[in-house]
C-alpha cells in the first residue's frame, strides 16, 4: 500500500535523467577544472602527465555517477550487504595480493589498474549501515544489543586499514560512519561516552602506530622540533600559503611549489599550491564551493523519503566533508599530517572514483526520493 505509486520501477529513464541535480554536477565540474589547472601547474606546464590522467579518471567518474544514478535503488538496497562484505574480503586480502608502495600495502591490481579497496570501504560501510538502520525502528537505536552489529561493521574495516597502515583513511572510515549513527538517532550519551573511550584508547592505538606516524604527531604538536625533517613539510606548506597573500603569486608562479619546497604537491598538498598561486581569494572561493556542495547534499539527503536513502545520502555527504576538512586543516597545520586527499583536486584514482561513486549514490537517492523500500530485507 505504501510502495504503490512511487516505486522506482515507475520512473522512466528520461524522467530519471531529468531529475538529476545538475547544479551539483556543475559545482563538481568547477572543482575539477581547478584541479586540472593546479595539476598542470604542478606538472610544470606538462599536460600529458598528471592532468591528462586526472581528466581520464574524472571522465570515468562521471560515467560512474551517471550509472549509479540510473540503476534501480532497490538493487542498491538489495546488494548493500554483499557489496560491503565483498569490500571487506578484498580489503582483508590486500596485504596478501596487494602491491607495496612506500612501506604500505594499500593497492591491488585489477587488470592494469591499481585500486585502493580502503577508499571504497568508506562508502560501502555507509551502504551497509544505512541498510541496517533502515530496517530498525527509530526507537530501538539506543538498545545496546542493536548497536553490536553496526559496531562490528565499523571496527573491522577501520582496523584492517589502520594496520595497513593508512591512518588517514582509517579515521575517515570511522568518523564517516558516525554520521549514520547520529542520523539514526543514537543518543548523545553514546557520542559523549564513545568520545571518552576514544580518548582513553589513544595510548593503546599509539602502540600500533608506525614510527613515521608517531613522528608526524610529535611534529604536529611541536613543528620546531625538527624544522628540516618532519616539521619541514608543514612549515613549508604554511610558508607557501602565507606568502601567497590575498591575490596569490600568480598562476604557474608559485615559488614554494615550483622550487620543490613542498612535498606531495600533486596529492595531499595540492591546496597549498593552489593557495600559493591564487591567494586567499582563490582559496576562499574553493572553500565556498566545497561548502556549497556539502550543504546542498545535506538538503538533498533530507528530501528522500526512505530511511535508507536518507542515511546513505547523509553518510556520503559527511564522508565528503571529512575529506575536505581533514585535508585543508592538515595543510594549514591545524591537525597532524595524516594523508587524506582533497576531492577533485588531488591526483588519486581510487579516491576520485570512490568520491564520485558516492555522488552517484547520492544522486540516485535524490532521483528516487519518493521511492519506498521494504524493511527487514536482509539479503
Amino acid at each position: 500500500m505504501f510502495n504503490s505509486s512511487y516505486s522506482s520501477g515507475n520512473l522512466s529513464y528520461s524522467e530519471r535523467i531529468k531529475r538529476i541535480n545538475y547544479f551539483i554536477i556543475f559545482l563538481i565540474l568547477v572543482l575539477f577544472s581547478f584541479g586540472l589547472l593546479a595539476l598542470y601547474s604542478v606538472a610544470e606546464g606538462n599536460f600529458n602527465s598528471w592532468p591528462k590522467n586526472h581528466l581520464y579518471r574524472f571522465l570515468i567518474g562521471l560515467l560512474l555517477i551517471f550509472f549509479l544514478s540510473m540503476i534501480d535503488i532497490k538493487l542498491i538496497f538489495k546488494f548493500a550487504y554483499p557489496i560491503f562484505f565483498l569490500n571487506i574480503i578484498v580489503l582483508a586480502l590486500t596485504p596478501i595480493i596487494g602491491t607495496e608502495v612506500f612501506g604500505a600495502t594499500r593497492w591491488i591490481k585489477i587488470g592494469g589498474i591499481s585500486l585502493q579497496p580502503s577508499e571504497f570501504a568508506k562508502y560501502t560501510l555507509i551502504l551497509a549501515l544505512a541498510k541496517y538502520y533502515h530496517s530498525m525502528q527509530y526507537a530501538n537505536t539506543n538498545s545496546l544489543t542493536k548497536l553490536l552489529i553496526p559496531s562490528v561493521f565499523v571496527i573491522v574495516p577501520t582496523l584492517i586499514v589502520f594496520i595497513q597502515p593508512d591512518l588517514g583513511t582509517a579515521i575517515v572510515i570511522a568518523l564517516g560512519s558516525l554520521s549514520i549513527f547520529w542520523a539514526a538517532g543514537l543518543s548523545y550519551r553514546y557520542f559523549i561516552s564513545g568520545g571518552l573511550i576514544g580518548l582513553l584508547s589513544i595510548p593503546i592505538a599509539w602502540q600500533f602506530l608506525r614510527e613515521y606516524q608517531k613522528e608526524r604527531v610529535f611534529t604536529f604538536f611541536n613543528p620546531e622540533r625538527d624544522p628540516l625533517g618532519n616539521g619541514y613539510h608543514i612549515l613549508q606548506s604554511k610558508i607557501a600559503l602565507g606568502s601567497g597573500g590575498f591575490f596569490g603569486k600568480g598562476y604557474l608562479d608559485g615559488t614554494q611549489s615550483h622550487l620543490n619546497f613542498l612535498p606531495e604537491m600533486h596529492n595531499d598538498f595540492i591546496f597549498t599550491m593552489f593557495g600559493e598561486e591564487f591567494g586567499f581569494l582563490g582559496s576562499i572561493f574553493l572553500i565556498i564551493i566545497y561548502l556549497s556542495i556539502i550543504l546542498l547534499s545535506f538538503r538533498m539527503a533530507i528530501a528522500s523519503k526512505s530511511l535508507f536513502s536518507r542515511y546513505l545520502s547523509i553518510g556520503v555527504t559527511f564522508v565528503f566533508s571529512l575529506y575536505v576538512l581533514i585535508n585543508i586543516s592538515m595543510v594549514m597545520g591545524l591537525i597532524p599530517v595524516v594523508g587524506v586527499p582533497l576531492p577533485f583536486l588531488s591526483y588519486g584514482g581510487s579516491s576520485t572514483l570512490a568520491i564520485m561513486g558516492g555522488f552517484g549514490l547520492l544522486m540516485n537517492c535524490y532521483i528516487n526520493q519518493r521511492t519506498n523500500l521494504e524493511r527487514g530485507d536482509f539479503f
Binding site: 607557501a240 602565507g242 530511511l307 594549514m332
Partner: protein
C-alpha cells in the same frame, strides 16, 4: 488502520528528528569550515608579510663573487706576483652513471695522478649531487690536455680552470712579496673573504701588508634556488672590485743579483736610491719558493722551513736586527762635530782605553781597540778610515750617549723604515732614558763607550743602516723610504736637511778614504775606474771577549762554531763623488765586515754602475 496511523505519526516524528540532526550536522560542518577559513585568513592575510619573507629566504640565496687579486709589478713593469690559470679535474655526481668506474677510468687516463677511489667517493658524496667537486688539483698542461682528449670515456668528469698565485721570480723575491695561503681562523672576523670556500690571504711580506688592497672587494649575486639548493636563475648582481695592482720600486735584476751573491750565506742586502728613497733591492737569504704555498705546501716542506737554523722564513733585511758595530761610527763622529769637537784634534791610541770603575777590584775597567797595538795618533778622518775604537771612546765620553742617540734617531735608526710590513722590527737606539724605562737601572759610562762602537744595546736592521747612509751622502736630505712606486709623488717640496753640509763633507771624505786609500778597512774591495764606492765596514760581536781570552790570544772566527762567529757588515754608497746608491750588506756570523761584507758590496756597485750605463743606452735608443 490504527497501527498504520501510528506508524505514520511515528514516521513523521522520525522525519523531524532526522532533519533536525542533519541540520545540526550541517551547522557543525559549516562551523568547522568557518574555523578553517579564519585559519586561512590568518595565514594568508594577517601573517602574509612574515611568510613572504620566509618564502624569499627559502628561494633566494646570495653567493659571493671573488675578484681577481691585484698584480704586483717590479720597477721595470714586469709582474712579480700574478695570477695564472691552474688546471683541475672535477666531477658532477648526477652526471656519472657508475662513480667507481668513472674514477677508475680517470686513474687509467692520468696514471701519474693516482687518486684514492674510496676517499674521493666519500668526499664527493658529501657535496650536493649537482655541484662540481674538485678531485684532482694542479694538473700540468700536458695532463690537462690528456684529460681533455679522453673526456669521451670519462662521463661526468670535467676539466676545470681556476687561478692561482704565481711568483715568477721564485725565492729571490720571497720575503719581500711573501706568500698567500688559506685564511686562518684568527682572520675570520676582519677578512670578509673568509666566507669564500677557497680564498687565501697574504701571510707575510707585501702580500700580507697590502692584502686589503690586493684582494679587492667581493661581489655578490642573488640567485634563486630550489629546495635542493640547485641554482635556477640569477636575480641580481652587485659587481665587486678587482684587487688593486701595485708597482714596486724593486728592480728585479738587482734583486736577483743580490740574492745570488747571498747564495750559501745567511744574511741580507738592501739597496736604496739616495735621492728618491726608493729601495731597489731588499734581499734576504736563505729563502723559500712562495709558489709552494700557492699549491698548498706539504707538511714536510713546511717543517723543514721551520727547523732550518738559517731561518729562511725571516726577512733579514727588516726583521733581523744586529749590533751595527763600526758602521755606527760616522753617526757618532757627526754627533762629535755637532758638539763642537774639532775634527783635527787627535787622540793617542795604544790599543786600549781605561776608565775608572769602582765596582771592580782593580778600580779600573779597560776597553780595547780592535787593533791590539793601537793606531798611534788619530784624528777624526783617520779614526773612520781605520775604524779606531779608542778615538771613539774618547769623543763619546765628551759627547755623551744622549747626543749620540739623538743623531742616530735623526738618521732613521731605532724606527721602522717602511711602516708597511707587519714583520718589520724597529731595533734599539739606547740612551739614558731608554735604559731607565726598559731595564730600570742608570746608564753607565762604560756603556757609552761600547755604544760608540755600535755594541752594547744598539740594534739595527739592514734597511735602517742603508737609509742612514743614504741621508748622509745625499747632502743630508731627509728622504721617505719607498717600496711602492708612486708616479705623482715627486719630491717638489724643499727637503728637510738633517745635518750641516760641512760636517757631512768631513764624513764622506773619511768614508771615501776608508775604501779607496791604502790602510782603509775596505781598501781591498775598492773599485777601480771612474765610479768608485765608499763606505764603512762593521764587525759586530755576538760574544763577550774576556780578559783571560785576550791574554791567551783571541780565537779566530773560523775556529768558532757558526753561531758564535761575528756578523760581518758593510754599509756604503757610490759613485763616491756623486752618490746615487747606498747599500748595506749584513752577513750573519760571516766574520769581519771587511772580509765577508765589503767584497759583496763591491760586486753590487760594479753591477749597478754597469747597469746604469745600460739604461742610458736603452733610453737613447727610444728617443
Amino acid at each position: 488502520m490504527f497501527d498504520q496511523k501510528k506508524y505514520i505519526s511515528k514516521s513523521e516524528n522520525t522525519d523531524k528528528q532526522i532533519s533536525r540532526r542533519t541540520m545540526i550536522l550541517s551547522i557543525g560542518v559549516t562551523g568547522i569550515f568557518a574555523l578553517m577559513s579564519s585559519r586561512l585568513a590568518y595565514l594568508q592575510l594577517y601573517r602574509h608579510k612574515d611568510y613572504k619573507s620566509l618564502s624569499d629566504e627559502n628561494r633566494i640565496t646570495h653567493r659571493l663573487i671573488q675578484p681577481s687579486r691585484g698584480v704586483i709589478y717590479n720597477a721595470q713593469g714586469k709582474p712579480i706576483a700574478n695570477n695564472i690559470e691552474s688546471y683541475h679535474a672535477s666531477i658532477i655526481l648526477e652526471e656519472v652513471s657508475d662513480i667507481n668506474k668513472a674514477l677508475e677510468s680517470l686513474n687509467a687516463v692520468l696514471p701519474e695522478k693516482q687518486i684514492d677511489i674510496d676517499k674521493t667517493i666519500k668526499k664527493i658524496k658529501k657535496s650536493k649531487k649537482f655541484v662540481p667537486v674538485q678531485i684532482i688539483d694542479n694538473l700540468s698542461w700536458n695532463e690537462f690536455a690528456k684529460l681533455n682528449s679522453n673526456l669521451y670515456q670519462l662521463k661526468g668528469v670535467f676539466p676545470s680552470v681556476g687561478y692561482k698565485r704565481f711568483y715568477p721570480e721564485k725565492d729571490s723575491h720571497a720575503h719581500l712579496l711573501g706568500y698567500i695561503s688559506d685564511i686562518a681562523k684568527e682572520e675570520y672576523k676582519e677578512n670578509p673573504f673568509s666566507k669564500l670556500n677557497n680564498a687565501k690571504s697574504g701571510k707575510i711580506g707585501l702580500e700580507k701588508s697590502l692584502d686589503k688592497e690586493l684582494r679587492g672587494r667581493l661581489g655578490l649575486k642573488s640567485i634563486e634556488i630550489n629546495a635542493f639548493g640547485r641554482e635556477i636563475r640569477e636575480l641580481k648582481r652587485i659587481e665587486g672590485k678587482v684587487g688593486q695592482s701595485v708597482q714596486l720600486t724593486i728592480d728585479s735584476d738587482v734583486q736577483n743579483f743580490c740574492f745570488d751573491l747571498l747564495k750559501g750565506l745567511s744574511g741580507s742586502i738592501s739597496v736604496i736610491d739616495v735621492n728618491t728613497g726608493n729601495y731597489i733591492a731588499l734581499a734576504s737569504a736563505p729563502a723559500f719558493d712562495p709558489n709552494k704555498f700557492s699549491d698548498g705546501i706539504s707538511s714536510s716542506d713546511w717543517q723543514s722551513l721551520l727547523d732550518n737554523k738559517y731561518k729562511p722564513l725571516i726577512n733579514k733585511s727588516i726583521s733581523s736586527y744586529y749590533p751595527p758595530g763600526s758602521t755606527i761610527k760616522p753617526l757618532v763622529a757627526l754627533a762629535a762635530l755637532e758638539s763642537g769637537i774639532n775634527p783635527n784634534e787627535t787622540f793617542s791610541c795604544n790599543g786600549k782605553h781605561e776608565v775608572e770603575d769602582t765596582s771592580l777590584e782593580s778600580g779600573i775597567k779597560t776597553f780595547h781597540c780592535w787593533k791590539e797595538d793601537g793606531h798611534k795618533e788619530v784624528n777624526m778622518n783617520k779614526a773612520i778610515k781605520v775604524s779606531c775604537d779608542v778615538y771613539f771612546y774618547h769623543i763619546a765620553r765628551r759627547v755623551g750617549i744622549d747626543k749620540i742617540a739623538e743623531v742616530c734617531r735623526r738618521f732613521g735608526l731605532g724606527d721602522e723604515v717602511f711602516d708597511l710590513f707587519y714583520e718589520e722590527q724597529p731595533g734599539i737606539v739606547p740612551d739614558k732614558k731608554w735604559k731607565r724605562a726598559t731595564l730600570g737601572t742608570n746608564w753607565l759610562i762604560g756603556e757609552t763607550l761600547v755604544s760608540a762602537i755600535g755594541q752594547s744595546y744598539f740594534l739595527s736592521t739592514s734597511s735602517q743602516l742603508s737609509l742612514a747612509f743614504a741621508q748622509i751622502v745625499n747632502g743630508g736630505k731627509q728622504i721617505k723610504p719607498n717600496l711602492i712606486y708612486r708616479k705623482d709623488e715627486r719630491d717638489i717640496k724643499i727637503p728637510t736637511l738633517l745635518a750641516a753640509q760641512s760636517h757631512l763633507k768631513i764624513l764622506m771624505k773619511a768614508l771615501d778614504n776608508a775604501t779607496n786609500e791604502p790602510g782603509g778597512t775596505s781598501y781591498r774591495s775598492r773599485i777601480l775606474g771612474e765610479n768608485k764606492m765608499a763606505g764603512k765596514t762593521g764587525t759586530s760581536q755576538v760574544r763577550v771577549i774576556t780578559e783571560k781570552e785576550r791574554e791567551e790570544g783571541i780565537i779566530k772566527n773560523k775556529d768558532l762554531p757558526w753561531n758564535k762567529r761575528d756578523h760581518g757588515l758593510y754599509v756604503g754608497y757610490g759613485p763616491s763623488d756623486r752618490p746615487k746608491y747606498a747599500i748595506s750588506v749584513i752577513i750573519e756570523h760571516g766574520g769581519s765586515g771587511s772580509k765577508a761584507a765589503a767584497p759583496i758590496a763591491s760586486k753590487i756597485f760594479k753591477f749597478l754602475f754597469r747597469k746604469k750605463m745600460d739604461i742610458k743606452q736603452s733610453v737613447i735608443k727610444n728617443v
